[in-house]
Amino acid sequence: AIHKTVEHTALLAEEGKMKISVQSRSGKSIADLDVEPELSVRDFKKKFFGLKRKYYPSRQRFTLPLKAGETRATALEDSKKLSDYGLQSGAVLHFKDLGPQVGYATVFFWEYFGPLIVYPLFYFLPQYLYPGQAAPKQHALVQTLALGYWSLHYSKRIAETFLVHKFGHETMPIFNLFRNCVYYWGFAAYVSYFVNHPKYTAPGELQSKVALGIALVCQLCNLRCHVILANLRKPGEKGYKIPRGFLFNFITCANYTAEVYGWVCFTIAVQSIAAGIFTLVGLAQMAQWAVQKHSRLRKIFDGKEGREKYPRRWIMLPPFL
């Protein structure tokens, strides 16, 4: 019975257009659209938005119905056309609402802006944040240098967000904004609380200066890695490329390498377990991302059908990973 209905409504589509049936993944009908086959997915989403004003384009996710043997449905990409997916009149597309979305740059800005404000609070306002504890008249040199390094690091991150990074996606679910801010702002407070504590015991000045010096070098390496990654794709190019040059010749996620070593040096400079915990948690997350990226690149660049074979490289942390 369903087949007959689809064929019947297909005959009613306008000349040169095809009818697309949008359904929820459970099969409930949402809307029917008459569209030209040459329409881009991006424009299709705009049309859908015209019908369903609640779902702006970045919230929309369309998938093709599962074929036999498939476990994951194919999602429609904005840059492709409807005809690229072999869609005929009467075809069904499944719709998923991705929930309220927020821009990548917006999330990056707020998650990095918090630490710029939160960390200095403990340095400048000990009388309020360490109630009942008499603070020494002057901060140790390392505490001041650490404040400078921390502020420089997060300023760099914000600058990169607007001047360097080319994001692979435009938006992410709004819950991520909340979750990421809790992480960054929370750890900023946690690290700062102990490093700027009235009872802080500074390690030797040489240890601090050398460690922070190396950390700065790591930050510059990290910046260079980010620039290389941003320039990987020429404007309009899609798809993954093999990163090359500088440390990328040896390590897939060299940017994470520099970042981790930077925080290790910071931890040595301030000699605080709190900074060490922050470093470890960041390391664990970056390692997870690095493994995913590395295996994705190895899967794509398999050396078959004229594709390059992904070279043998460390994933993130020679000689461990």
Partner: protein, 241 residues
């Protein structure tokens, strides 16, 4: 491999043994508190050893998950086991006085005083664990689960989760004044590693995470219940078709 084949014999053994252990703790609780009319302190004396053994053994479940022996997500399993271990080894064992004899009184219903105390905690824990372990034991042994066990697994949480969580928070509530006063497990500043630990604050933080945790877990179990029980008796029959 048909769905009616036995799974891993080790898992059959593990789940059966733990089901028995928690059943034993429940038996001791009921006997001491309800039959012999003992106090909650008496209950603790009776169950202390098997309770510690049964609850600590749950660490194995994190291992099972990590090595892929069972399909549950490692992080969630680890969080659940960690929270139980914290209540037992971090609250009750170090502060046995207030926790095993104290109570939070909820009110009276028909002459019976309703309280959150060690016994409400043990009853909630024992019943959930017996239901859970028997479910997994039967699943490993038979390949499918008899409907009564399925029903219990996806229905008992409705009452047991709130009672269990409320009892766990009660234990913390009873122990916190002592934890604060004695400064137990505190690592004060100054020290060479510029790090401090205030156990009282850490406990408060853990209690705070219960607040978003329970609604999420509860909601998840409710959707699982709809999925597993929504088809009613039709589900087990469909497998044989």
């Amino acid at each position: 491999l048909q769905s009616t084949d036995m799974g891993n014999p080790y898992l059959v053994l593990y789940n059966t043994v733990l089901c028995g252990a928690w059943g034993y703790v429940l038996y001791l609780t009921v006997q001491t508190y309800f039959l012999e009319k003992g106090s909650t302190r008496d209950v603790y004396k009776a169950v202390e050893l098997p309770l510690k053994a049964a609850q600590t053994a749950a660490i194995l479940e994190v291992v099972h998950s990590a090595v892929g022996l069972v399909r549950s997500p490692v992080f969630i399993t680890a969080m659940q086991v960690a929270s139980r271990l914290w209540v037992l080894w971090g609250i009750i064992v170090p502060v046995p006085g207030p926790t095993t004899s104290g109570a939070v009184v909820l009110g009276s219903v028909g002459g019976v005083t309703l309280q959150l105390n060690l016994v409400s905690l043990l009853v909630a824990w024992c019943l959930s664990e017996v239901v859970r372990y028997s479910f997994f034991a039967l699943k490993e042994l038979l390949g499918t689960v008899p409907y009564p066990s399925l029903w219990l697994r996806y229905s008992s949480f409705i009452l047991l989760y709130p009672i269990g969580v409320a009892s766990e928070l009660t234990m913390a509530y009873l122990a916190l004044p002592t934890i604060k006063k004695t400064g137990m497990w505190n690592l004060p500043m100054p020290n060479a590693f510029n790090w401090g630990f205030d156990y009282h604050w850490a406990c408060l933080l853990v209690c705070a995470t219960y607040l978003p945790g329970l609604p999420q877990l509860y909601g998840y179990m409710l959707t699982q219940r709809k999925k597993q029980l929504g088809g009613g008796a039709a589900k087990p029959k469909a497998k044989q078709a």
